[in-house]
C-alpha cells in the first residue's frame, strides 16, 4: 500500500454526531506537529444529526494548499461512508472500517478489488470498549490505527489527545487507552501505508488555522472593541471565537437580534469613537444594505465580513461559492464610495482585517471583506500571526477645534477630519439626510451636488492609494497568465507547483482589492500575446465581467463552477494542462 505522488489524502467519514471534525483536527494538527505540510477541509450538511460528515486531510510537499478529489486512506465510521466514497479511492489506497458496525456490500468489495483498493476491517467498537471507552471513542481508536498505518510515533499524537479531551484526567486516560488500542491492533496486523512525503522542521511551529479564526484574531489585534453579529454559516465561527476570546481583551461581543441591528450598532460604535465590526453571509448582508448606505452618507466607518455560500436565498448553507462579489460592490441605495477586498488564505485574512479597519476609518466609508465557506472553515498552515505586524491608522482625527470647525468640511482628498461626541470641539449632526458641512439637513441643489462630489472624491483618493494585486511567478516569460480571487488562490498555487515540475510556466495574479478595481496593474499583467485565463467559483463570471468593465480586457479562457464545492486540484491541473501544452 502506498501513494503514487507527492500528496497523500486521508478522509475521515461518518454520520453527523460521530465526532468526525474533532478527530480530523487532532490528526491534522498532529501531522503538522510532526513536520508534515497539511490542509484540512470539512464537508457537512446543514443538519445537526443524521447527515454525512467528512474531514479531509491533505498531506503534501508543494506550495499552496491542495484539495484533491482522490483519497488514499478512508476511515469509514458508518456503512454509507464506504458507498459514498468508493469511487474516490486511489489505486493502492486503503479503507479502514469498523468491523463491529459496518458490513460492506459484495458489489463494492468486488469493485474495490478491481481498483486494487485494500479493505481493512478493524474492531473499532470492541477496541473502544476493551479500553473502557464508549461508542463515540471509536474515533480515537481509529486515530491510533491510522497513526500506526502511517508509521508515526505515538508520542507525537498523545499530547494532542490530552489537550483535546482535557475535561478530566479520566477522559484523557480513557482516550489515550483507546488510541493505543487502535495503534497496537494495526501494528499486530503488520499494515503500513508508505508515502514519499518529506517533513520540514519549520512546519512544526506554524499555526493550523481557519480563515474565520484568522479574521477573529485580526479583529482582536487591531483593536475592535465591539463585535456585533447574528449567527449565519459560514461566518458564525467568528462570533463564537470572539465571544470566548474577545472578552479576555475587554472586547464587548454582542449576539444581536438581527443583522440590521448588528450593522446599526457597528455604525453607532464607530460614531462614538471606538472600533467595531460585524460578519454575516449573503442573506444577512442583504439586511444590512440600508445601513451600508447610511455609513456612506454620514461618512461613519463600517466594516463587515461576508462569508459567501451558494445562493440565492438560503441556498446551500454549509457549502461554498464566490457569488456575492457583485452584491458587495453594488449593494445599498444611492451613490457612495466603498472598498471591497477578498483575502485568499488565513494569513491574508488576519492582515487584511486589520487593514480593512484602517481603511474604513481613514476614508470614513464602508469596507466589505469577502470570505467564503472554503476559506472560512478550512484549516490552513500559516506562519504565526504577530501583533507587531499590525499598525493602527485611524485617519484624520481632531483633538481640538472651535465652534467653527465643521465635521463635513471640504478637503482636497474628500476626507474631512472627524472627532467624537463628548469631545469638547464642536457639535455636529451625523445625518442620514443630505446635509451641510455641519450636518444640518439641506434640500438646496448646489449643496446636494457639492456634498455628493465631496464624498465621491474619496473614490479617487482610495484608488490612488490601494496596493496593487499580488503576482506569483514571472509574468515576463510565462506561457499563461492566470487571474483569480479569494480562496481559489491556494489550490491554484499547488496546481501550478505540480505543473512547474513538468517545466510549465504560469504567472498568477490574485486580485485582493476588488473595488475600486485598479485597471493599470491588470492591463500591464495581461499585456502581450500570451494566453490568459480566469478562474472563479460562480456561474456568471463576476470578476471577469468586472475586469472587462474596468479594463476592456476579455479573457481567452475561463474556468468556473457553481456546485457548492471548491475547486479540486485535479480540475485546475486539467484546465491548465490544456492551455500550456
Amino acid at each position: 500500500m502506498e501513494n503514487r505522488n507527492n500528496r497523500m489524502i486521508i478522509k475521515l467519514a461518518g454520520a453527523a454526531g460521530q465526532g468526525i471534525k474533532t478527530a480530523g483536527l487532532i490528526l491534522t494538527k498532529a501531522l503538522k506537529r510532526s513536520g508534515y505540510k497539511v490542509f484540512g477541509y470539512t464537508e457537512y450538511p446543514s443538519l445537526i444529526r443524521g447527515g454525512h460528515n467528512v474531514f479531509q486531510i491533505e498531506v503534501f510537499n508543494s506550495d499552496g494548499a491542495p484539495l484533491s478529489k482522490e483519497t488514499d486512506i478512508l476511515l469509514a465510521l458508518d456503512k454509507a461512508s464506504i458507498a459514498l466514497h468508493t469511487k474516490e479511492l486511489s489505486q493502492g489506497g486503503i479503507i479502514l472500517y469498523d468491523e463491529n458496525t459496518v458490513t460492506p456490500e459484495q458489489t463494492i468489495i468486488d469493485e474495490l478489488k478491481n481498483n486494487e483498493v485494500n479493505l481493512v476491517p478493524i474492531k473499532l467498537s470492541d477496541l473502544a470498549s476493551t479500553a473502557g471507552g464508549n461508542a463515540l471513542m471509536k474515533n480515537t481508536v481509529a486515530l491510533g490505527a491510522i497513526w500506526e498505518l502511517l508509521g508515526l510515533e505515538l508520542e507525537d499524537l498523545e499530547p494532542l489527545i490530552a489537550e483535546t479531551y482535557n475535561k478530566t484526567q479520566e477522559m484523557i486516560d480513557l482516550n489515550i487507552k483507546c488510541l493505543r488500542g487502535g495503534f497496537e491492533d494495526v501494528k499486530a496486523k503488520g499494515l503500513v501505508f508508505k508515502s514519499n512525503l518529506n517533513t520540514d522542521e519549520s512546519v512544526k511551529n506554524m499555526m493550523l488555522i481557519s480563515g474565520n479564526e484568522a479574521v477573529a484574531l485580526g479583529a482582536i489585534a487591531a483593536g475592535v472593541r465591539l463585535y456585533s453579529s447574528y449567527p449565519m454559516t459560514p461566518a458564525s465561527a467568528i462570533l463564537s471565537y470572539l465571544a470566548e476570546h474577545g472578552p479576555k481583551h475587554g472586547m464587548v461581543v454582542k449576539q444581536a437580534e438581527d443583522e440590521i441591528t448588528a450593522a446599526n450598532m457597528v455604525i453607532g460604535a464607530f460614531h462614538a469613537g471606538t472600533r467595531s465590526m460585524c460578519a454575516t453571509s449573503g442573506g444577512g448582508f442583504d439586511l444590512m444594505t440600508e445601513a451600508l448606505s447610511l455609513s456612506g452618507m454620514t461618512e461613519t466607518p463600517f466594516f463587515c465580513v461576508i462569508g459567501q455560500r451558494p445562493g440565492p436565498a438560503t441556498g446551500v448553507p454549509t457549502w461554498t461559492a464566490q457569488g456575492d462579489l457583485d452584491l458587495a460592490i453594488k449593494a445599498g441605495h444611492g451613490e457612495f464610495p466603498r472598498i471591497v477586498l477578498a483575502p485568499g488564505n488565513p494569513a491574508q485574512a488576519f492582515q487584511y482585517t486589520a487593514d480593512a479597519l484602517n481603511l474604513t476609518e481613514k476614508y470614513q466609508t464602508p469596507v466589505l471583506m469577502l470570505l467564503d465557506k472554503h476559506l472560512g472553515e478550512s484549516f490552513y498552515l500559516s506562519p504565526q500571526f504577530k501583533s507587531e505586524s499590525i499598525t493602527i491608522d485611524r485617519g484624520k482625527i481632531l483633538t481640538s477645534g472651535d465652534n467653527e470647525t465643521k465635521r463635513y468640511a471640504p478637503s482636497e482628498d474628500g476626507v474631512s477630519a472627524r472627532w467624537f461626541p463628548g469631545d469638547q470641539i464642536s457639535t455636529f449632526l451625523a445625518n442620514s439626510d443630505e446635509h451641510t458641512t455641519k450636518g444640518y439637513s439641506t434640500e438646496e441643489g448646489t449643496e446636494i451636488s457639492t456634498m455628493m462630489q465631496k464624498r465621491l472624491l474619496k473614490n479617487n483618493t482610495i484608488l490612488s492609494n490601494l496596493p496593487d494585486p499580488l503576482i506569483y511567478g514571472d509574468a515576463v516569460d510565462a506561457e499563461l497568465k492566470l487571474v483569480t480571487w479569494g480562496s481559489n488562490i491556494e489550490v491554484i498555487k499547488a496546481a501550478i507547483g505540480e505543473l512547474e515540475k513538468q517545466g510549465k510556466k504560469i504567472a498568477l495574479m490574485q486580485i485582493i482589492y476588488c473595488w475600486p478595481l485598479k485597471a493599470d496593474p491588470i492591463v500591464s499583467f495581461l499585456n502581450g500575446n500570451t494566453q490568459t485565463a480566469i478562474i472563479e467559483l460562480n456561474a456568471t463570471m463576476q470578476l471577469a465581467t468586472l475586469i472587462k468593465q474596468v479594463t476592456g480586457i476579455e479573457f481567452n479562457n475561463k474556468l468556473n463552477k457553481f456546485d457548492g464545492r471548491p475547486f479540486y486540484i485535479e480540475e485546475i491541473i486539467a484546465f491548465l494542462s490544456n492551455l500550456v501544452k
Binding site: 506537529r33 506554524m206 499555526m207 493550523l208 488555522i209 479564526e213 484574531l217 482582536i220 489585534a221 483593536g223 472593541r225 465591539l226 456585533s228 476570546h245 472578552p247 479576555k248 481583551h249 475587554g250 464587548v252 454582542k254 444581536a256 437580534e257 440590521i260 441591528t261 450593522a263 446599526n264 450598532m265 457597528v266 455604525i267 453607532g268 460604535a269 460614531h271 462614538a272 469613537g273 471606538t274 472600533r275 467595531s276 440600508e290 445601513a291 447610511l294 454620514t298 504565526q384 500571526f385 501583533s387 493602527i392 485611524r394 467624537f420 461626541p421 463628548g422 470641539i425 464642536s426 457639535t427 455636529f428 449632526l429 451625523a430 445625518n431 442620514s432 450636518g439 444640518y440 439637513s441
Partner: protein, 287 residues
C-alpha cells in the same frame, strides 16, 4: 454651566403650529440644562419622521439615522462610550413598525440610555397614515374605511417585555415632562418614556382637550403602586383616566454594560481603548 440658549440651533423648527414636538423640544433642552450637561456632553439619536425633523433644531452632538433603527444605533453609541449620556428619539410609526424587534431586545438587554417615544398615533411626516397606536376603526390616510388592525398599547408592550423603566408624559404638561426626561437620564438601564404627543394636523381623535381632561399624575395618587402588573392594568385603554408620570421603575435595574463579566473593574470606555492588542496567548493554541 450650559444655558438653554447654548442648545439653540440657528435653524427654526418646521413643525405645524400647535404640534406637540415643540413641547418635547423645549423639555429636552430644559432637562439637559438641569442635568448640568452642555451640548458637547451628550449624543442625541433621531429617527426619520416629524420627530427626526428636530435633529438640526437643537445644538448638540447628534445622529439622525435610519427609519426605525434609532435603538440599535443608540445602543452602539452607548456601548462605544458608556460614560456618554445618550438619548434616542423616535415616533410610534418607526418604533412599533420597522423597529419593533429592536425595542423588545433593547428592553431585554437593558442598554443604558433614555428613549423618548413621540406617540402621536400617526405617521406625521408621510401625511397621516395609521400606526400601530392608531385606534382600530379610525379613518386615516391609506385607511379610508377605518383601521383594520387592533390598537397596540405601548405601556403594556414594554412592561410585558420586562422594561426596567416606564414613564409617560404629555405634551400639555411641560414641567412634568422635563422631570421625566431627567429621571430617564438617571436610570441604570433602558428608560422608556412615552410622550402622548399632540398632532393637530393628523390626529383629530385625541386632541389636547381629550387628553387634558383625562390625564393625571400618579404622584397625586397615594394608591399608586410601583408594580409591573398593577401598572399594566392601570394603562389599559379601557380606563377612562390616563395615568402619567414615572409609572414603573425597577429599583434593582442593572445595565447591559454593567452586567458584562469581563468589563467589571475596567475604568476606561471602548472609545479610549483602540490600540494593538497582544494575541500571543491565542496564537499558541493554534500551534
Amino acid at each position: 454651566m450650559a444655558t438653554l440658549a447654548d442648545f439653540n440651533s440657528p435653524l427654526l423648527p418646521t413643525w405645524c403650529p400647535g404640534c406637540g414636538n415643540f413641547a418635547i423640544w423645549t423639555c429636552l433642552k430644559q432637562a439637559l440644562v438641569e442635568k448640568g450637561l452642555s451640548p458637547m456632553d451628550v449624543n442625541l439619536c433621531f429617527d426619520i419622521g416629524c420627530n427626526g425633523n428636530g435633529a438640526d433644531k437643537i445644538n448638540a452632538y447628534a445622529f439622525k439615522g435610519l427609519h426605525g433603527r434609532t435603538i440599535p444605533l443608540a445602543s452602539g453609541i452607548s456601548l462605544g462610550n458608556h460614560k456618554l449620556p445618550v438619548i434616542g428619539i423616535g415616533g410610534d410609526g418607526g418604533t412599533f413598525d420597522e423597529g419593533m424587534a429592536h425595542l423588545i431586545h433593547a428592553i431585554r438587554s437593558n442598554y443604558k440610555f433614555l428613549f423618548i417615544l413621540h406617540n402621536n398615533c400617526d405617521f406625521g411626516l408621510t401625511t397621516g397614515q395609521a400606526t400601530p397606536t392608531t385606534p382600530q376603526g379610525q379613518k386615516m390616510n391609506s385607511s379610508p374605511y377605518g383601521v383594520v388592525e387592533s390598537r397596540l398599547n405601548p405601556g403594556q408592550l414594554v412592561l410585558a417585555s420586562g422594561a426596567s423603566f416606564y414613564a409617560r408624559g404629555f405634551t400639555g404638561n411641560i414641567p412634568q415632562l422635563k422631570e421625566l426626561i431627567v429621571k430617564g437620564l438617571e436610570h441604570e438601564g433602558f428608560a422608556f418614556l412615552e410622550v402622548l404627543q399632540h398632532c393637530p394636523t393628523y390626529n383629530k381623535f385625541q386632541d389636547h382637550l381629550y387628553l387634558n381632561s383625562r390625564v393625571y399624575d400618579v404622584k397625586t395618587d397615594e394608591n399608586h403602586k410601583n408594580d409591573r402588573r398593577y401598572v399594566y392594568d392601570l394603562v389599559d385603554y379601557s380606563n377612562e383616566k390616563i395615568a402619567t408620570g414615572l409609572l414603573y421603575q425597577d429599583p434593582e435595574s442593572t445595565s447591559y454594560y454593567s452586567r458584562l463579566e469581563k468589563r467589571k473593574g475596567m475604568e476606561t470606555t471602548l472609545k479610549d481603548e483602540v490600540k494593538v492588542y497582544d494575541i500571543a496567548e491565542q496564537v499558541k493554541e493554534f500551534i
